[in-house]
């Protein structure tokens, strides 16, 4: 008897989400929980970070900006990764839910990039003496922001939904390759003022890495941002799925 072929694996269940009905059902049930968890982690992380952490020796109270800057930056990159995967799945399997998820992820990713840029610049001013430096990481984020804008603009510019999905997916994939290229180009071009990896699990032996006192609220904040991203992703994708159905019905009505 071959039991292994009967029990659905995680991936089998995951791909069932490609069916819009299944997706709407699952996301509708999950959404309140994800949203609540997002609120919980975000509030606790930011409140802890803002009110209950000490100042840094070198950076003073500006270190508190880390609770916004780092999670936002992570989500900015995460957003583009999601778009890349969604685009790939669409081009290969032509499942609408994935490309609509990519479409929904883009504005959120863009806002996260903006937050990362703004908090980075504000943080940079007292630390480096200037609002903007052509530092590798900041510059890469600026380019990332432009990629997001281009992707969203292309979606908006094309009338036919499926054509738009196809073209934006091609753009997202080429863009991802170039984003990685840009990262290395910018590193080459300017060794930069940004410190190395801030968030490592290393002990306090390395001076540049942050200590536990800052790390725990940061983890909460990162979880909060991540869950918020997921919440908005679910809301946005559900909206897009409904919007698509709406257009289908409207088209049908026009033909009758």
């Amino acid at each position: 008897m071959n039991n292994r072929s009967i029990a659905p694996t995680f991936w089998d269940r995951f791909w069932r989400l490609a069916n819009p009905k299944v997706f709407m059902g699952w996301s509708g049930r999950a959404l309140p929980w994800v949203a609540a968890a997002a609120g919980l982690f975000l509030c606790s992380g930011l409140i802890w970070g803002y009110f209950f952490t000490p100042d840094d020796i070198r950076q003073g109270s500006t270190v508190k900006i880390i609770y916004l800057h780092v999670p936002a930056a992570l989500m900015a990159i995460n957003g583009y990764l999601l778009m890349f995967v969604g685009a790939l799945v669409w081009l290969i399997r032509r499942q609408h839910v994935s490309v609509l998820a990519a479409k929904a992820a883009a504005p959120v990713g863009m806002v996260m990039t903006l937050i990362a840029l703004a908090t980075g610049a504000i943080w940079g001013q007292p630390m480096w003496g200037t609002y903007w430096v052509w530092d590798p990481r900041l510059t890469s984020f600026l380019i990332l922001f432009l990629f997001y804008v281009g992707y969203i603009a292309l979606w908006a510019a094309i009338e036919d939904e499926d054509t738009a999905a196809d073209l934006t997916s091609v753009l997202a994939i080429v863009g991802a390759v170039f984003a990685m290229l840009s990262r290395y180009a910018v590193l080459f071009w300017n060794q930069g003022l940004h410190q190395g990896t801030t968030v490592t699990m290393a002990d306090g032996a390395q001076q540049d890495n942050i200590s536990n006192v800052f790390f725990q609220p940061l983890l909460l904040s990162m979880a909060g941002f991540g869950l918020l991203f997921l919440t908005l992703l679910l809301i946005g994708t559900r909206t897009e799925v409904r919007s698509r159905r709406l257009k289908v019905l409207q088209a049908r009505e026009r033909m009758e």
């Binding site: 081009l91 380019i143 432009l146 990629f147 804008v149 281009g150 603009a153 292309l154 510019a157 094309i158 054509t163 196809d166 073209l167 091609v170 753009l171 994939i173 080429v174 863009g175 390759v177 170039f178 290229l181 840009s182 180009a185 910018v186 080459f188 071009w189």
Partner: protein, 218 residues
């Protein structure tokens, strides 16, 4: 494919084909810079590599919608789509024609215009080399962007928005190579990376553009 390439080159060189426009634009930009930034010779020499690269890049950008636009409007592109020539080949032919009529002339003109910015002629030769290595990438990436925005009305601005972030690595390496040369440092690393981008673009973008053309010509 060769015929398509020759035809596009011929079309561009004829009057109304836009051949000289990119060069004129390049000249105008370079003359505007000293007006904007002041005529201090040493300052101009310092910024010259970047300005010239940027000017060439912008001049390239301007002619991008011609790559597919004209043929799309009069239906030639649809004819090409039904021909045995695969869209990837159409893309390569057109990108090559663009480079020959835009990128190459800009690269050759740059050291001459560099004189206006007090750029040492020896450095100007490196500039020319960097543009020769980098402008293929600009044509390839630009043609890719054009293939995406084919059906978009007044898509010029959108085209620029899509293409400019993709131009950044080439611009960085290209201008940096010339700057390093100006400072007497080793610049071959930058040139190698610049060429790598052009080669990489030539390897990947035909497939991406072919896909985009197929999508748009459905």
């Amino acid at each position: 494919m060769i015929q398509l390439f020759l035809r596009d080159v011929g079309l561009s060189v004829r009057s109304g084909g836009g051949f000289g426009l990119a060069l004129i634009f390049f000249l105008i930009v370079v003359t505007l810079i000293p007006f904007a930034l002041g005529p201090d010779q040493t300052a101009l020499a310092v910024i010259a590599p970047g300005v010239l690269w940027l000017g060439a890049l912008l001049a390239c950008l301007l002619s991008l919608d011609r790559i597919f636009g004209l043929d799309f409007e009069d239906g030639t592109l649809d004819l090409l789509a039904t021909s045995p020539l695969p869209p990837e080949a159409v893309y390569i032919a057109k990108a090559a024609a663009h480079w020959l009529t835009t990128g190459l002339p800009l690269a050759l003109a740059a050291p001459v215009l560099g004189v206006l910015l007090n750029l040492d002629f020896e450095i100007g030769k490196i500039l020319c080399l960097s543009l020769l290595l980098g402008t293929p990438a600009l044509s390839l990436i630009g043609a890719f962007g054009a293939s995406l925005t084919l059906g978009v009305k007044r898509g010029g601005l959108l085209l620029s928005l899509l293409v400019l972030p993709l131009y950044v690595p080439s611009l960085i390496f290209g201008a940096q190579a010339v700057r390093l040369a100006g400072q007497g440092l080793a610049y071959d690393g930058a040139l190698v990376l610049l060429s790598a981008i052009s080669l990489g673009a030539a390897a990947i973008l035909p497939f991406a553009s072919g896909a985009a053309l197929r999508i748009n010509l459905r």
